[in-house]
Structures are given as structure tokens and as C-alpha cells.
Symmetry: C2
Subunit: 104 residues, 2 copies
DNA sequence: TGCCTATATGTCAGCCCTGACATAGACTCG
DNA sequence: CGAGTCTATGTCAGGGCTGACATATAGGCA
């Protein structure tokens, strides 16, 4: 958000919080959610870099296009398991996986 | 295995294979299994380093002692999700998580 | 010896995640 | 315009993972 706009809104009594604060997450929960989002972004990056469609990826991991879309969207209904297995199916090495996790 | 013993056994017609070969796993599946084992080992290492029991850890993650034992044993009935969440509950940072993953 | 703690292993009802399907929007190309 | 592709989103029955429980083994201590 624009700093000026934020200042003006705060002057009028608005409060700003992080997603973590808003949802009342513990540190571990926040770290978990963050991790999922990083993997989701990493999956999208890897897939598009390879130039393959969600449907094509879905076939290689024996899933469906809709589930791939949910994965990349960070949908809560998708497990870490499936995210990681999808990344591995795209040929992601342990080192690359580690880089995705530590990305900021 | 002792190289001499192996040579003697091979001379008698025994064949040796990796777990991956034996189970007929694809590269991705093998990587997935390996990853789980690394996380399992990492969990055990972190827990014992903190000097807490499986029961104590189970309480903090709202699970049970038996499930923690299965986790550390690399039991197939345990999801990556639970493994990672347990590690995070032990205060494992992203960087440490990455180190566990890339450990050999 | 008996008691306590820690860990391993098996089982199971119930819930969460699964793939599949339907549908809609955005975009490209005839 | 219409047809095709790609992606997003909602729904659902069924299967996999869950916590809980029971039980066994091992080690420490009195």
C-alpha cells in the first residue's frame, strides 16, 4: 500500500495488521502457511518456465487440472504432500527445493 | 555390508539392488521417499537435541505418542504435512529445514 | 524383584484431502 | 462472430491419514 495513503488512513483511526495477526495465527502456523505459499509460487514458476499447461502437469502427476489450479492458488484444501510431489514430478532437485523454501 | 562378504555372496549368485530398484520406484517416487526419511531423521535429531520425549512433542502438536514414533520411524502412514508441522513446532527455521532437505 | 518412563507397533472410526466433473471467464486465432 | 485453449472455482463420493487406545519391550532406579 502507498505509504501516504496508509498514513492518512491511520490518522482517521484505521488499524493495520498482518495476515498472521488478523487470523490469530501462532508462529508455527504462520510459518506453515508461508511455506505452503512459497511452494505454490515455486510450482507455478517451474511449470510456466517449462511451458506446460496445468492440464499437462495434472496428467504427469495423475491428478486433475482443477487440483493443479488450487495448488498454485495456495488453496487450503491442498496438502503439502501433493505440492512437494508435484514439484518433484517437475524434476525439482533437493537443492532447488531448499532454495524455494528459503526464498523470501 | 562388508565388501568381502558381498563379493562372496555375489560369487554364489546373489544379486544386490538398491531399495529403489527393489521396489520399482520412479526417480520422483524415490526422491519423495528419501525426502520423508530425511525429515524423519531431522525430527528425531531436533527432538532429542531438545531433550523432550515423544509424548511431550505429541502434546505440543496435539497428536499422540504413537504418531510421533511412526513419524520418526518414517512410517508410510504419516504425511509430509505432519512431519513438516512437527518440525516447525520444534522451532525449525526455513534455513534449517532447507539444510535437512539437502543433507545427504 | 516391581515400578516408572520412553519408545515401538498394531488397530480403528471419523474426518480431511483426493481426483473427477461441471462450469465460467479470459484470450487467441480463423 | 465461434471454436479452441488455459485457467479459476465449486461440488462431491471415496479413500487415506488422523488421534486415540491398547499392548509390548527396554532401560533405570529403589
Amino acid at each position: 500500500m502507498n505509504p501516504d495513503k496508509r498514513r492518512r488512513l491511520e490518522a482517521r483511526g484505521w488499524k493495520f495488521m498482518t495476515v498472521k495477526e488478523f487470523l490469530g495465527l501462532t508462529d508455527e502456523e504462520a510459518a506453515y502457511v508461508e511455506l505452503r505459499l512459497k511452494l505454490a509460487d515455486g510450482l507455478w514458476a517451474r511449470r510456466t518456465a517449462r511451458g506446460i499447461s496445468q492440464t499437462a502437469l495434472a496428467k504427469t502427476i495423475e491428478s486433475s487440472q482443477s487440483r493443479v489450479a488450487k495448488m498454485e492458488a495456495g488453496d487450503p484444501s491442498v496438502s503439502l504432500d501433493l505440492l512437494v510431489r508435484s514439484l518433484l514430478a517437475l524434476g525439482t532437485s533437493n537443492r532447488e527445493l531448499a532454495r524455494i523454501i528459503t526464498a523470501r
